[in-house]
């Protein structure tokens, strides 16, 4: 039971730690990194499901007869690249925010907005 589900549980711990960074940290760059942690843990979940005990990498050869499932590998290949492009977009937004507000901290940005509203 423990050996059979250890991967899944570690994935959930990693996922929740990434989620914690996103929710609790006020620095926008760190929030993006939290999302990255979350995302990579989902990749580990998918690849864990594709593993077959005693299997080998899904490259067909004469010697091997048991292969791991190739479909999750393909899905995760796509997800990795999409993940990088979304973080690139997020980071571009952050540097644009830095140009406008002079900070990348959520709390300070909110304070600036409040004082502008009063003025």
């Amino acid at each position: 039971m423990i050996a059979g589900h250890f991967n899944y549980w570690v994935v959930i711990v990693l996922m929740m730690m990434g989620f914690y960074i996103v929710v609790s940290d006020s620095n926008l760059i760190k929030k993006i990194i939290g999302l990255n942690v979350f995302q990579t843990s989902v990749f580990v979940l998918f690849i864990s499901m594709s593993k077959v005990k005693g299997g080998t990498a899904p490259i067909l050869t004469e010697e091997a007869s048991l292969y791991s499932n190739p479909l999750p590998h393909v899905l995760i290949l796509t997800a990795i690249v999409v993940g990088v492009s979304t973080s690139a977009l997020g980071l571009a937004l952050i540097s644009r925010i830095h140009r406008a507000y002079g900070t990348v901290d959520e709390t300070l940005i909110h304070e600036q907005d409040e004082t502008q509203d009063e003025a």
């Binding site: 760059i29 990194i33 580990v44 077959v52 290949l77 980071l91 709390t107």
Partner: protein, 180 residues
């Protein structure tokens, strides 16, 4: 115990330690580099789980390009993390409830490496047995990526293209417009 399982366990434990360090670090430069280490460890983990194509994509794109992008952004915005965090209590409650629900969900999942799991009995056997005749490439991941699920890859290209346009629009020079 199998040596692969042992490597698997130690890599997962290392990943958890790295994320704990990530949460506690104050310097953004340190955080960006630790994130690279985390990606590299996950790439190692993918190799032990037979996903070699995913492993080198993660090592190149996840650990490489993401770190470069992060360092580029930090170079613009400055390294130090200024203000304190929000309250810590509410986020902890939320993640514990979510985590408990997810762990309850995993109890129904087939054990790790089980060859009889539903995921291995649907379309995957077709890819493994027929792709030699239908596509003729030994690497099944390539034939699924480029042929059986080619539309997914087309969608991926569209996403990258959109993201690239977005980045260019956000970072492009706005000086001319501002002067109007």
């Amino acid at each position: 115990m199998d040596i692969a399982i042992l490597v698997n366990f130690s890599l997962l434990t290392l990943m958890m330690l790295v994320v704990v360090v990530l949460i506690r670090l104050k310097s953004l430069l340190g955080v960006a580099l630790t994130n690279g280490i985390y990606s590299l460890l996950s790439a190692g983990l993918f190799v032990t789980m037979d996903a070699v194509d995913v492993a080198f994509t993660e090592a190149a794109v996840g650990a490489g390009i993401t770190t470069v992008l992060l360092l580029g952004t930090i170079a613009v915005t400055g390294m130090e993390q200024t203000v304190s965090r929000h309250g810590k209590f509410l986020p902890l409650v939320v993640i514990f409830i979510t985590g408990a629900a997810l762990i309850y969900g995993t109890l129904d999942m087939p054990p790790f490496g089980d060859p009889k799991a539903p995921i291995h009995t649907h379309v995957a056997p077709h890819y493994l047995t027929e792709s030699t005749n239908e596509i003729g490439i030994p690497n099944v991941v390539t034939s699924v990526l480029a042929s059986y699920r080619g539309y997914d890859t087309l969608g991926e290209v569209i996403v990258i293209f959109t993201a690239a346009i977005g980045v260019l629009l956000l970072l492009g020079k706005t000086v001319g417009k501002r002067n109007k």
